[in-house]
């Protein structure tokens, strides 16, 4: 047993790893929320439900059609993205000029429908999804055992997050997106199809949740409840980070995963509440959030 200052390094690094994995999912989900919020000024309450739907589509694709994990990584985000596009086009757009409160309630209703439908269809106990053969096994490090699949999640989600960040900050498409966030009327006046950009942005933000769902399927049990529990934590993370910056959303997501992992090691009783407690402290000290821009 390797110990340092009385701390069991095996246990600690194991919990840190779990924390980083949770953090990867928090980062993907809060990134999606932040992108959608930037243009539409709404919070998508269905983000968690769509993450759950992503996991279920991956499970069904494997179970009924034999579509493997790697294909699902491409197909599922596309399908979930299409659901998002339809949601935006036919449900959210008609009420875009009303109080944003209504959009929020609408997405909450959609979340209830999706969760209810999957509970009805599959029951509330979890289904398991096998880890793809290529990523089975693990690597033995000096102080811990690192399962390959878990390493993959962390690398893949960080790549996707920072790829998205780069796209938004450094490319022309990203410039449109940022301009749309600043002043949609002006952008429309320049002849850019703003409604199309809004639809695609919503689709993309939601697709990120679908992607997270596929990646989560082999580590967590695929269950109708998986999204709602996750989403409330992600809300707290969004409040902690503030929605001012894309990079902030990613960093806060990963960071809070690590904080949660550390708590699981040092004081397991508080592991479910720690992120909410951090939120309370942040609200007391810096109400706008760590990366928040508004007063």
């Amino acid at each position: 047993m390797v110990t340092f200052l009385g701390i069991n390094l095996f246990g600690l690094s194991g919990q840190l790893l779990v924390g980083l994995i949770n953090g990867s999912f928090y980062a993907l989900l809060s990134l999606g929320l932040a992108i959608i919020f930037g243009l539409l000024k709404i919070i998508n309450f269905a983000q968690g439900a769509l993450y759950m739907v992503g996991a279920f589509i991956a499970w069904m694709a494997l179970q009924y059609m034999g579509i493997n994990y790697w294909a699902a990584l491409i197909i599922v985000p596309l399908l979930v993205g299409v659901i998002g596009v339809l949601m935006e086009r036919y449900l959210l757009r008609p009420i875009a000029n009303e109080d944003h409160l209504y959009s929020l309630l609408l997405t909450f209703g959609i979340a209830l429908i999706l969760q209810g439908a999957f509970t009805h269809g599959f029951g509330s106990s979890g289904l398991s999804y096998a880890i793809p053969a290529e990523l089975k096994g693990g690597t033995k490090l000096p102080f811990m055992y690192l399962p390959n699949y878990r390493a993959w999640i962390i690398v893949a989600s960080i790549t996707v997050c920072f790829g998205t960040w780069w796209m938004i900050e450094k490319t022309k498409l990203g410039a449109y997106l940022r301009a749309g966030t600043e002043n949609p009327q002006m952008m429309q006046a320049f002849g850019i199809n703003v409604p199309l950009i809004v639809t695609l942005t919503f689709g993309f933000g939601v697709a990120l949740a679908g992607l997270a769902g596929v990646m989560a399927a082999p580590v967590y049990a695929v269950s109708p409840e998986m999204g709602s529990n996750m989403l409330i934590v992600v809300f707290a993370i969004v409040v902690i980070g503030g929605m001012g910056s894309i990079g902030g959303a990613i960093l806060t997501g990963l960071g809070m995963g690590v904080v949660e992992g550390l708590t699981k090691y040092f004081y397991p009783e508080a592991s479910t509440t720690i992120i909410f407690l951090v939120m309370v402290v942040v609200l007391l000290l810096k109400p706008a959030g760590l990366f928040g821009k508004e007063a």
């Binding site: 000024k41 449900l91 309630l105 209830l112 009805h120 409330i232 509440t273 309370v280 109400p287």
Partner: protein, 309 residues
């Protein structure tokens, strides 16, 4: 004066209702109606969407349940303590959440409620997943035995009328006018010298106290306090009741609670019970897309008279 006649008519109906309808159903409606009225004070009259109001309902319920089971105090004191506990929690949560606006307010209240959900899940005194069962109803003032459903019904009615009156008074007071001003145009209210956050905070405390009162009363009615009352589903339900009935109208939450509880009771008995959440979600979507004023709001439009003023 016409509105007073309407209220008197409703009260008259409520007094004879248990001879026509099942008293436990009516008590459930009244408890949820009080909960929804309390919620609507924030949403409809200050424009604050609290997505974690179940935490106050549940806190009131747990505190009352615990005291009734373990100390043998009379029900009115039990309810008072439950209400006070909810108000205290509301004072703390309100102080935190009014720092943020709009969508953030909704997320903060939801996250804070989830914090308490996990606390109640782990705390030994709540009974965890099983909840507190067999809470005694006790004897009101040590005189009236509440285990009789009729006695209980009139007590619940009295509690509801008190809560409803308090909200009515709040809305029509100068304080309530400032709240409406904040809802309509917050920067202007600030520029007129009102300390907006303090007004929101006090409204939050009143609302959470009344939600706690509803929860305490509900625990006595069903003799049960459980995690269901603290779950975010419950927070969603109260939003739905208010939306269906008509947010920002005084009678809306009462009507909405009646409709939603009625639908739930009807569905849970039949084979459609499995579809309950889907149907609730669908009602949400339909209300938002086509029916934003709610039942009372639409009636107001038709008869061109505003019950809320």
């Amino acid at each position: 004066m016409k509105i007073n006649k309407l209220y008197l008519g409703l009260l008259g109906f409520a007094l004879i209702a248990p001879t026509i309808l099942y008293p436990v159903f009516l008590m459930k409606v009244l408890c949820f109606a009080l909960f929804a009225c309390a919620f609507n004070l924030l949403l409809g009259f200050v424009g604050l969407l609290s997505f974690g109001h179940a935490v106050f309902l549940g806190t009131g319920g747990y505190v009352t349940g615990y005291l009734m089971m373990n100390t043998g105090i009379t029900p009115e004191l039990g309810i008072l303590c439950g209400t006070a506990a909810a108000a205290l929690l509301g004072a703390f949560y309100g102080k935190l959440s009014v720092k943020r606006e709009g969508i953030y307010f909704a997320m903060v209240t939801l996250a804070l409620a989830q914090l308490m959900f996990f606390v109640y899940l782990q705390a030994p005194f709540t009974g965890g997943e099983d909840g507190m069962q067999g809470v005694p109803r006790g004897e009101l003032f040590g005189l009236i035995d509440l285990s009789d459903n009729m006695a209980m019904y009139y007590f619940v009615l009295a509690v509801f009328v008190f809560g409803f009156w308090l909200i009515h008074r709040t809305i029509h007071s100068p304080f309530g006018q400032v709240l409406k001003a904040i809802r309509e145009n917050e920067p202007r209210a600030v520029s007129l010298g009102y300390n907006v956050n303090d007004y929101k905070w006090v409204a939050f405390i009143i609302s959470s106290a009344l939600a706690g009162l509803a929860g305490s009363t509900k625990t006595l009615v069903f003799q049960l306090a459980s995690l269901t009352d603290v779950h975010w589903h419950m927070s969603g339900e109260v939003v739905l009741m208010t939306l269906v009935g008509g947010m920002g109208t005084i009678l809306g939450p009462l009507v909405g609670a009646g409709v939603v509880v009625g639908i739930q009771n009807y569905l849970s008995g039949g084979e459609l019970g499995n579809y309950l959440h889907i149907i609730m979600g669908a009602i949400f979507v339909i209300c938002v897309l086509a029916f934003r004023s709610g039942i009372v709001g639409e009636i107001n439009k038709v008869i061109k008279r505003n019950f809320s003023s």
